[in-house]
């Protein structure tokens, strides 16, 4: 079927664009090295040179957007190509911000990633904050081929942190679309405006201002021991909620070929911490190595 035009061309003005290609090279013996190949960018969006804190085969990439926020009409376009057997972890140093939109043009970010057979993309950005009056459009399109793996989270935060400036007007459209060999594998789309009754409804956002989804395109809960561990983690967190210690809710589920964890909370930091805990537990089953926390998260 035709690909979906998420933004009308006339409304689109790229503030910045970044494209990068990651390649894998055989080293002596059985090792491989992932390298940052061709890149191109314009506008204030770039990467530092890759870090290799856990060996040459898996690159850590920090995606920098120095202005840090988007106003009406601003769009970021990020295109990543992970070639066969290359392994990449991408994160961002700070939260993405979508400011009040005083124009009639949309604002947002599009991430397109193509991951070839044997390739891995870990997409672990900081949260996106939707300021009061913002009209955000966030779209991620992930095309997997063969045995490629995507493991990524997206956290969205309505209004300024700690409710200083609640989200009273504006809208959000956020879409994640994953295909494998051209066929739809997982799609999630949230679509609302600030006055939508869904925001307060228990079936919707239940009056919480932070939500997120962590998606791994593997049968990670195929392993009984790990399943028991993850379910115990989920129960522990949600029991705190039931005991009147309302921090947030988490829920995991395993569809064929896709693991999904969702959360609802009032604090972005809580969401990040829970997803990081989950990532720490799952990573050995995804990329056969322990979690290696990107240095930038500690600063």
């Amino acid at each position: 079927m035709t690909s979906i035009p998420f933004l009308k061309k006339s409304q689109r003005r790229w503030l910045a664009e970044f494209t990068a290609c990651f390649t894998a090279h055989d080293l002596e013996g059985q090792a491989t090295a992932t390298r940052l190949g061709a890149t191109s960018h314009f506008g204030p969006l770039r990467v530092q040179r890759p870090f290799f804190p856990e060996g040459a085969d898996l690159a850590h990439i920090y995606l920098l957007h120095p202005p840090g926020g988007l106003v009406g009409g601003d769009h970021l376009n990020i295109e990543l190509e992970v070639q066969s057997s290359a392994k990449v972890l991408v994160t961002t140093p700070s939260a993405g911000k979508l400011y009040r939109n005083i124009t009639d043009m949309s604002q947002g970010q599009t991430v397109s990633a193509t991951i070839a057979d044997g390739g891995v993309l870990e997409w672990l950005p900081q949260e996106n904050i939707l300021f009061d009056g913002a009209t955000g459009e966030l779209c991620s399109r992930i095309a997997l081929y063969g045995t490629a793996i995507y493991s990524g989270w997206e956290i969205i935060c309505l209004g300024r942190p700690e409710g200083e400036k609640p989200f009273r007007s504006g809208s959000l459209r956020q879409r994640l679309e994953i295909t494998r060999d051209g066929s739809p594998l997982f799609i999630d789309q949230i679509n609302f405006s600030a006055d939508d009754a869904m925001l307060a409804n228990r079936a919707g956002l239940a009056d919480q201002r932070v939500t997120g989804a962590f998606v791994v395109t593997e049968d990670v809960l195929g392993n009984r021991e790990l399943t028991a561990q993850i379910h115990a983690w989920q129960e522990r967190i949600n029991a705190g909620e039931a005991a009147g210690n309302p921090r947030g809710l988490v829920a995991v589920t395993q569809k064929p070929g896709v693991f999904v964890a969702r959360l609802l909370t009032d604090k972005a930091e809580w969401a990040r911490d829970r997803f990081q805990e989950l990532w720490t537990q799952l990573r050995p089953a995804i990329v056969q190595r322990p979690a290696c926390v990107p240095r930038i998260w500690r600063t």
Binding site: Q189, M198, A242
Partner: protein
Amino acid sequence: MATTATDMRRDRQSLLALLHLSSPGLPIGAFAYSQGLEYALDCGWCSNATEVQSWIECNLKTGLGQLDMPIYRRMYHAWQNRSESELQHWNQTLLAFRESRELYDEDVQVGSAFAQWHLGQDRGRQAELSLCPTPTVVSMHALASILGYIPIEQALLGFTWSWCENQVASASKAMPMGQTDGQRILQAMLPVIEAAVQGSAALRDDQIGSGLVGMAIASSLHECQYSRLFRS
């Protein structure tokens, strides 16, 4: 233009086909699932008829109205054109949207029972069924509507009515909620059903998607719920 006797006969037949399809006795096993509602009742998110109604209304408007209904329209159209590629694309797209293992399994299991129902009606329908492997409930309902000459708007009203009736029945069993409350909720949902069906006609492909985080969480947690009346 005068309505001909043939048109009137066609109307009567399509109404009967719609009633047949909308009967809770249709042997496809939809009654065995609550779609997150049992968890919402169990954990106290819905503790009375008003809260049940608000849960159902939100799922109807945002869940069915922005996901199942627009895809139903596309699959109805695809059956009309016997377009194998469109049928498979939209069927696969709907399965990709299913928020949890439980909701995915429900769609595949009830969809497969629905396919058996089609074969029980007429072995010759194997030709249609082979166009759509791993059929979803939406795909099989749309096929039945095409074969019963049910117009699209009426087909969607029937599809959504059955879903509503099933949700109310779930609440009646699990809460439990009395018959009067259940009937009142169904009455209140009539204009909501009508508006959601109409609204779904205008959605573009890139507007499809429910985004019901609370329902997705309820359905995922129902998979681990200690004691359940409804299947997971």
